[in-house]
Symmetry: C2
Subunit: 528 residues, 2 copies
């Protein structure tokens, strides 16, 4: 029997077997899975009432709100394509996305009214606008609650083509125009099952959605939380205190986030005043994490902390550094933090290779650096309406990630850099991540980024941009000495610059391109 794969099954399962349980919490609002599922049916019917057709793209401009979680299923139940928008993009980029996606409806939270006002004149299409938590009027032809209130609770049964597009996420590339990652029901469904097998969420899990659900690290999570009857808690805006308050109040068990988020919590002066004992696991993604961060989180918060790695193009999880007892049982415990800070090993359903420039597999020696290739049912259909970009990314049956990594004989990969972040000093490749990890091990350092600066003698040389912990002190000389103990001489940064903070993108990822820019200004065109 062939039944099309559909993530709507996850919602239906939650409503059928965990229906009376509070499944979604957003501020003071709590929804049982049954009530929430009914809202998704209403949304699906409302989209049809608005005149949209199966296959139409429906865009959402909002924080992590319950409405966005409703859209995860309601838009798909309507047979349409969900397009969550990164709210930190410029109006220009968002207008580009809405036009490129040819969105037929744009749902926006009232806080983004000025943004939407700025976007609208730039659009060549005429989508219907729906405001959430605001008043109808102006450009908003409809208000979300009124729309749902006026529509049927009867479930819809769309014709599902498991290989057709179901979600469309634009990557906020630091260079070039955003590209739309088209994901199918099959991508989403199989990713959810395989990620669940690796992570083992269950009905006792309470997940705080810290990372925006429109972002690579966030969007895979709702499906396996729903499938297993766990609880979603929405966090609209990140700040360390809000995070700790939510953890304490809702007894959150697991968090996924970038290192900067966990760093901010770890070093926050108010942390001892919050009960974080419900936390069981932290999953660190988005940027490389240091063993020092893993160790500090485990020791000071009393959780398991592991690194995960994924891409927009892979729905997203590719690897996790979940311990394998077959390896760890014979090892000293110190080794655990090192392993858990590695990029990890593939989740089920995922084949991974690391290849050199000629396409040959690197030696699995933990030394030779190559590009990570992925083959999996969680690799996207392709970039929407970008056949050329798609055929560059997916070649010979493998996704080419652009991430440079080593592979060891236990199957662990360690990302050494994005290809564009590698520093090339006199012909030697320097991984900026290796240098950052060495500097991060210094007790005074809160955050660090290492980038390539122009160098008369060597072409490029590493420079470090360092934020110290509140009240901590360290001189350039001291940090250089610290590096010399840990790194080959040619990898030691030429200069250290102390900063109050480092510029970050949507999910707290450090914007290295922005940090690199001043060093090169007026000097020459950067190729990257």
């Amino acid at each position: 029997m062939f039944v099309p794969l559909s993530v709507l099954d996850f919602r239906d399962r939650a409503a059928a077997y965990f229906g009376e349980k509070v499944g979604v919490v957003d501020g003071e609002m709590s929804l049982t899975y049954r009530a929430w599922a009914e809202r998704t049916h209403r949304l699906a019917n409302a989209l049809h009432d608005l005149g949209l057709q199966p296959g139409d793209r429906v865009s959402f401009i909002t924080y992590n709100t319950h409405q966005l979680l409703e859209a995860y299923y309601g838009v798909l139940e309507a047979g349409m394509v969900l397009n969550p928008i990164n709210i930190r993009l410029t109006p220009h980029d968002i207008a580009y996305i809405l036009d490129h996606a040819q969105s037929k409806a744009v749902f926006f939270h009232r806080d983004f009214t000025p943004l939407v006002d700025a976007i609208r004149p730039q659009l060549s299409t005429r989508p219907v606008f729906v405001v959430m938590e605001g008043q109808r009027g102006g450009l908003a032809e409809h208000e979300y609650e009124a729309l749902l209130g006026g529509s049927s609770t009867e479930p819809r049964h769309p014709q599902v083509d498991e290989n057709g597009m179901a979600e469309l996420f634009y990557t906020s590339g630091t260079t070039g125009l955003p590209k739309g990652v088209a994901l199918s029901q099959r991508n989403l469904y199989l990713h959810a099952l395989n990620a669940e097998i690796a992570l083992r969420f269950d009905e006792d899990d309470v997940v705080l959605h810290v990372v925006p659900l429109f972002h690579v690290n966030g969007w895979g999570v709702p499906h396996f939380v729903t499938m297993t009857g766990g609880r979603h808690v929405m966090l609209r805006k990140f700040d360390p205190v809000a995070l700790m308050q939510h953890v304490e109040r809702h007894k959150v068990t697991r968090l996924l986030g970038v290192p900067a988020i966990f760093n901010a919590v770890l070093h926050h002066h108010d942390r001892p005043n919050h009960d974080l004992s419900s936390l069981r696991q932290l999953i660190i993604g988005g940027s490389p994490a240091s063993p020092a961060l893993v160790r500090a989180l485990e020791q000071e918060i009393g959780v398991q902390a592991i690194v995960g790695y994924g891409l927009s193009e892979t729905t997203p999880i590719v690897t996790l550094a979940q311990p394998r007892r077959v390896l760890t049982e014979a090892e000293p415990p110190e080794r655990a933090a090192e392993r858990q800070a590695m990029t990890g090993w593939p989740i089920p359903g995922t084949e991974l290779r690391v290849v050199d420039a000629s396409g040959a597999d690197v030696r699995p020696d933990g030394e030779q650096i190559g590009e990570i290739l992925v083959r999996s049912n969680s690799v996207m259909i392709g970039y929407y309406r970008e056949p050329d970009a798609t055929s560059v990314a997916i070649r010979d049956g493998w996704l080419h990630t652009g991430d440079m990594a080593t592979l060891d004989d236990e199957g662990y990969v360690v990302i050494k850099d994005r290809s564009k972040d590698v520093i090339i000093r006199g012909g030697e490749n320097i991984s900026s991540v290796d240098v950052e990890n060495a500097i991060a091990a210094h007790p005074a350092v809160l955050e660090v980024a290492v980038v390539a600066a122009p160098d008369e003698r060597f072409g490029e040389a590493p420079v470090a941009l360092v934020v110290l912990k509140p009240g901590a002190k360290a001189s350039e000389k001291e940090l250089k000495a610290h590096c010399k103990e840990r790194l080959a001489r040619f990898k030691v940064p030429r200069e250290f610059h102390f900063r109050e903070s480092l510029p970050k993108g949507g999910t707290g990822k450090i914007l290295k391109a922005e940090l690199r820019e001043p060093f090169w200004a007026g000097l020459r065109e950067r190729v990257h």
Copy 2:
């Protein structure tokens, strides 16, 4: 990206990430996952060396041996179809199966040489015969180890059609000719993922394969054990002492079996001499289990015991009685054994309905009895070369199971009977299982079966066939009184017959048709 679903991924994952671990134990033989995977490559190549073609059926006649576990992957790696044969069938039935399947190769354990000798003259085809653990010669043109030793270790990469037939299991129906259940890679792969999400096996699990892998309760298990890097321990022939010895020696964590197996262990006089403390979970399938059995297993062996339900046609698991804490946390603990003895609720990826004779859903009141229908990607392709039987079983997008059950408002189903085992007394439907559970609650009773006997006044009436525990005593009068306290008067058996044992089929399932027969002999034709 579309990657055909294939259970070969599970083996490849085990070999890549748990390669140095002992994955398979069979008697004194231990194989690491890497060594075992290499043997599967050799088997795949050997099948091609024998001249077989992709799509050909390959039959195995053997106990639970490592060779059969190799065939699970090696035959599929060859692009062929695995057909494990129920060794308890008659030569006549096995000959029918080999002919119907048009097997091109028959692998048999040397212990079955007499059986194979008896089968061969009845065959209309001329498969190649390969003996395992025996000597080439006679009808065996090849010997397994020599065949593997002479073939390449190079992995083969078959063209996988995920919807094509990959495994073919004949049901040992008590009436009519065996029917071949054709399962696809998609059936097997998705069943394994969904069963794993429900059961949460992990690398620490050690599974003793008690139930034959050629049988409905056995064959789904190897895939999720392999996927998660657990350990397989083979049990060639069931007896309670061998089971306990294997559990003790290999620190077995989970067992799947029929109630009769667990009953035999529970009441075995030698049980206190074995350390069974490694056991964590027992999964009871194949026949209904009583709350008394669940409670006794939990209390006396110190495990969690839950019922599971599946069919040949569903790869096999449909439901499990895994506790849902959302229900159990507010309940008294006594209720747990009752819940865990219910047929359960669907595993992920499985839709279930209970419908009356008109096809309408029964009231979810735990009372009204209807037929279980299943819709899932784990429902078979169909009965091989039996389009008429297939279209009777799979109608309107649902598999019609023939199992009669109730449904309650928490989504639990409870099988009341196979439709053919229902006792119809003066127009009242009596579930033989309800009556059996009542009798089994008596402390002197080891095993019981209740069947329909002819009755002059009511057409049919229930009679009970009872085996008492060693040394225990109970009279017919006492058991009748016991039943009257627990059952409506019309359900109390008219007669009680005491037996030394009850006849059992391949997996220890009580053969009710055989028990019923003497009561009806010469009286009239039974329709069932």
